[in-house]
């Protein structure tokens, strides 16, 4: 038994765990952070997948990191550097008639003026809505019952925010919040590529198709990045791991003790609360507060054990929806492939293959029944164009989020994986005919691989679906939505907590605030 008297142990060194630990240490808490993998970062890491070729292993775009986290933790001083920022999104067309979505508007050969105009209006409105969501995301969710003064102020500012929207926008928000992105797109635009690319933003990383309810809320969730100052996706120098290394340096500077390659096998708890954790190998570490950066299912089912919670909680954990639907493709290229109709500067932007909403919906249909569609949608990056540290000179890496790749593939991923890899490459080839000749190594991470390698339960981007029933006061589930879990001393600080996933840092920071404000012995603050 180690008795170093930690105030808090953080289980998991994903970016949220690091952020949480750093804020706690800044506030004077003695913090130990335990990461199972050899390096910290969780789903925000860089990985050398072939000799000399590195990529961001899961998250590839930095598009939501909260500016307060960046400045509070002095991340640039600790080494965070962007290789590119405010990138455009280019919706690829096989004939080269691409549509470009930039911060200042949309353009494209086949795009009508009407669509361009409407996009400007649409974009402004979405920004307003996302701003509202962002305000709620920057703090713990206010609760309607048992509200204290902090909650009252939060509710008030939320109400004011709603009011500031104006009558027409407010009505619109309430209306579209409950429909789906497909219908919203149809109301606004004609161009299929534009509609496809925007629908991709509404469904990426979730078990949603364009026609699914909750796709609008998921869209706004992604658009929060704009409120946080991203006028388009950014690339971290050295890959996403660059951010996590900076976070780790910041956390260490604040006094967080970080141990890697230590697997927590249990969060130890009795009826009155947690007492610490146990590591694989049997070492036990005591602490009055345990903060889990692992997803909610892992936290409750594996680490805590459902026997240690009451049945209602066990049932909610059981029902929590958390099956990933995205695979990640990594290609090492010995040269730059030619994409039809794109010049080199365009190749460095965000490229998407989402030729239309119906195609996406069809791809999703397959996923609903445990299959993948022959026409996956892709979100592509060639980061080596703006970061020469990732590949040898003259060579490149291409990474792509490939959707939909259902976690529970009926045929099993052992057999499905190679075929799906080829399918993704073939799909790319439609836009870059000479791609195959340039490939010297490839890797595909299915949701099952993501679970195994990154300990992301279900391989899920957000540690659990984004949907009104699993967001805000219901994230991850009712009775556990304010970081403090229904076991005294246990907190959740990862993507499974409010406000959800994406490399954002808010779950970690909000959880730390909650812990700092927490009075021992009082489980409901």
């Amino acid at each position: 038994m180690t008795d170093a008297h930690y105030d808090a142990v953080v289980v998991g060194g994903g970016h949220n765990g690091l952020v949480c630990g750093a804020y706690l240490a800044k506030a004077g808490r003695k913090v130990l952070l335990l990461e199972r993998r050899a390096e910290v970062g969780g789903a925000a890491v860089t990985r050398e997948f072939a000799d000399g070729f590195s990529v961001s292993a899961c998250a590839q775009w930095l598009q939501q990191l909260h500016p307060d986290v960046e400045s509070d933790l002095k991340l640039s001083r600790h080494g965070l550097e962007l290789a590119a920022r405010d990138l455009d999104t280019i919706a690829l067309a096989q004939d080269g008639a691409h549509v470009t979505i930039a911060a200042n508007g949309v353009s494209g050969a086949a795009l009508s003026d009407r669509d361009a105009e409407r996009y400007a209006r649409f974009s402004r409105q979405m920004f307003k809505f996302a701003r509202l969501l962002a305000r709620v995301s920057e703090r713990r969710v206010p609760q309607l019952t048992e509200a204290g003064w902090r909650d009252r102020i939060a509710m008030l500012s939320l109400a004011l925010g709603m009011k500031r929207l104006g009558r027409a926008d407010m009505r619109d928000l309430l209306r579209i919040g409950l429909i789906n992105i497909y219908d919203v797109m149809e109301e606004h635009f004609d161009n299929d590529l534009l509609k496809g690319a925007l629908s991709l933003d509404a469904t990426l990383g979730t078990h949603l198709g364009p026609r699914s309810p909750n796709s609008v809320i998921s869209f706004l969730h992604r658009r929060m990045g704009e409120v946080f100052g991203y006028r388009g996706p950014a690339l971290v120098r050295g890959g996403m791991g660059g951010l996590s290394q900076a976070l780790a340096a910041a956390a260490s500077a604040c006094g967080v003790e970080i141990r890697t390659e230590v697997q927590v096998t249990s969060i130890d708890a009795a009826a009155d609360g947690v007492s610490g954790i146990t590591l694989a190998g049997g070492e036990r570490i005591r602490a009055p507060i345990v903060v889990s950066n692992a997803d909610p299912k892992t936290t409750f089912e594996i680490l805590l054990g459902l026997a240690n919670v009451e049945a209602g909680v066990a049932r909610r954990v059981h029902n929590y929806r958390m099956q990933g639907n995205v695979a990640k493709l990594h290609l090492a290229l010995d040269g730059l492939p030619d994409f039809v109709g794109l010049d080199e500067s365009q190749l460095g932007q965000r490229l998407v293959v989402a030729p239309g909403m119906d195609a996406m919906e069809l791809a999703f249909n397959a996923a609903k029944y445990g299959e993948y569609s022959p026409n996956p949608v892709l979100d592509i990056s060639i980061p080596s164009l703006s970061d020469d540290s990732l590949a040898p000179a003259g060579s490149h890496v291409l990474t792509a989020l490939v959707q939909y790749a259902p976690y529970s593939l009926k045929a099993g991923w052992e057999t499905g994986k190679e075929a799906f890899t080829q399918l993704a490459i073939e799909t790319l080839k439609r836009y870059a005919p000479n791609l195959r000749e340039t490939i010297i190594a490839s890797e595909l991470l299915t949701p099952v691989d993501l679970e195994r390698e990154f300990h992301l339960g279900g391989g899920h981007w957000h540690h659990g679906e984004i949907g009104l029933d699993q967001l805000l006061v219901a994230r991850p589930f009712p009775g556990a939505s304010r970081y403090a879990m229904p076991v005294p001393g246990l907190f959740l600080c990862g993507a499974g907590a409010h406000p959800g996933g994406g490399v954002m840092g808010l779950a970690g920071r909000n959880a730390a605030r909650e812990i700092i404000a927490h009075k021992p012995g009082k489980s409901r603050t």
Binding site: A270, A271, G305, A307, E310, A311, V313, H318, S523
Partner: protein, 396 residues
């Protein structure tokens, strides 16, 4: 077996004793107990009641919901479900228990039989399979509804031990209250537990349905000279009120069946504090019950001795002129010779000995009468026979 006849227009189930019950039920007063046809009374309620109190009453208990719970985690599982410490229930013993939802509200009460080796039987009023299944997440247990696989009779009253011994249950007098034992009955196992719902000496018999009718016949033959009599639901109702036992669905609404907020009750509010062990570890409702302990309960459960002989059924309870509660069960109890009511009142009232008023309404020939009957809060139930605890059990 479960004799659901496909052409029975009532779609009511019959218990394994039905042929015998129907023959004995002279006045054809039937009730529906969780889908089973059961008699309210066989002949005359008073006579049946007095059989329970003075000789032996036999009650067909088969419709009682029964679960078999087994598997390596059965004890741990039950300990998480129940509010009391199940680890203290030794093999060969039976325990009265309640269970709560996460809000600390009583879902039901029942009896739990420990057969040893992580094998239990839970008898309850409600069907709770779904709740048990949810509660089983994280435990290695099997839960099986065995309601239709076990025929059961309650044999209750001062001569009950003598009757059973006459039927062949040798040595039964040595069985302690809440103990269980087994006998051979025509080649099958007859389980006998010293349990019941009447507050007196009494047993419950458990057997496979195939031997139910024969068991009934043997039992009545053995008890012929010992005053044995079949008793229906109404007589039992009198006995249980006299003995101070709660009835789910009457004295509280099972928490998961409640539709309106605030209509369920916690064990503290039902006077069942003694069944709650807040120190035993995690169990369903513990967090809420701890809070309730800290902040106080809303209601208090009391036994009332009501003036007069009109049962204070559904009465309001007043303190002065203020309405402070309601009656859930009430009866004139013949043996205790008192007019008893169970009431749930505002927790600020109801100390033992306190005088309250029951607003009793009754009707005679279409005319309603309202009586403001004085009543007194009792410390304990009015019927409390020493025979209930005596071992060896008294003979006749």
């Amino acid at each position: 077996m479960d004799q659901l006849k496909p052409h029975d227009p009532t779609m009511m189930r019959q218990t394994p004793f039905h042929s015998r019950v129907a023959r004995a039920c002279e006045i054809n007063q039937w009730d529906d107990w969780k889908g089973y046809t059961t008699p309210l009374a066989y002949t005359e309620v008073e006579q049946e009641y007095f059989a329970i109190r003075n000789s032996t009453g036999v009650f067909d208990l088969s419709p009682m919901t029964k679960y078999h719970i087994g598997g390596p985690d059965a004890e741990a599982f039950l300990n998480r479900v129940m509010t009391r410490d199940i680890r203290k229930l030794k093999p060969g013993r039976v325990g009265y228990t309640v269970w709560c939802n996460d809000a600390g509200q009583v879902m039901d009460d029942g009896t739990l039989f420990n057969f040893g080796d992580n094998n239990y039987r839970l008898c309850s009023y409600t069907r709770v399979m779904d709740w048990l299944q949810w509660s089983a997440l994280g435990f290695d247990v099997s839960i099986e509804d065995v309601t239709a696989d076990v025929a059961a009779l309650a044999v209750q009253g001062p001569t009950s031990c003598a009757v059973l011994k006459a039927m062949g249950c040798a040595g039964l007098e040595g069985l302690k209250p809440f103990g269980l034992t087994h006998f051979d009955f025509e080649g099958v196992e007859l389980m006998v537990s010293r349990t019941g719902f009447t507050g007196d000496l009494g047993y419950e018999l458990w057997i496979v349905p195939e031997q139910a009718e024969l068991l009934w016949d043997r039992l009545f033959a053995a008890g012929k000279d010992l005053g044995i009599r079949a008793t229906g639901g109404e007589a039992l109702e009198l006995a249980r009120i006299e003995a101070g036992f709660l009835q789910a669905g009457v004295d509280f609404v099972p928490a998961e069946e409640v539709v309106r907020q605030g209509r369920s009750r916690s064990p503290f509010e039902l006077g069942l504090d003694w069944l709650v062990d807040l120190d035993k570890g995690v169990f369903n409702g513990r967090r809420a019950l701890l809070e309730e302990r800290m902040h106080g309960s809303r209601y208090r459960f009391v036994f009332l001795d009501v003036e007069g002989n009109k049962p204070a059924e559904h009465s309001f309870i007043l303190k002065g002129r203020k309405e402070i509660g309601i009656v859930t069960s009430a009866a004139w109890c013949p043996t205790a010779k008192s007019n008893i009511a169970f009431a749930q009142i505002d927790a600020r009232y109801g100390k033992a000995g306190e005088e309250l008023i029951a607003e009793v309404y009754y009707q005679r020939e279409l005319a309603w009468t309202r009586v403001l009957a004085k009543c007194r809060v009792l410390r304990s139930p009015v019927f409390n026979s020493p025979k209930r605890r005596q071992t060896p059990a008294p003979d006749y």
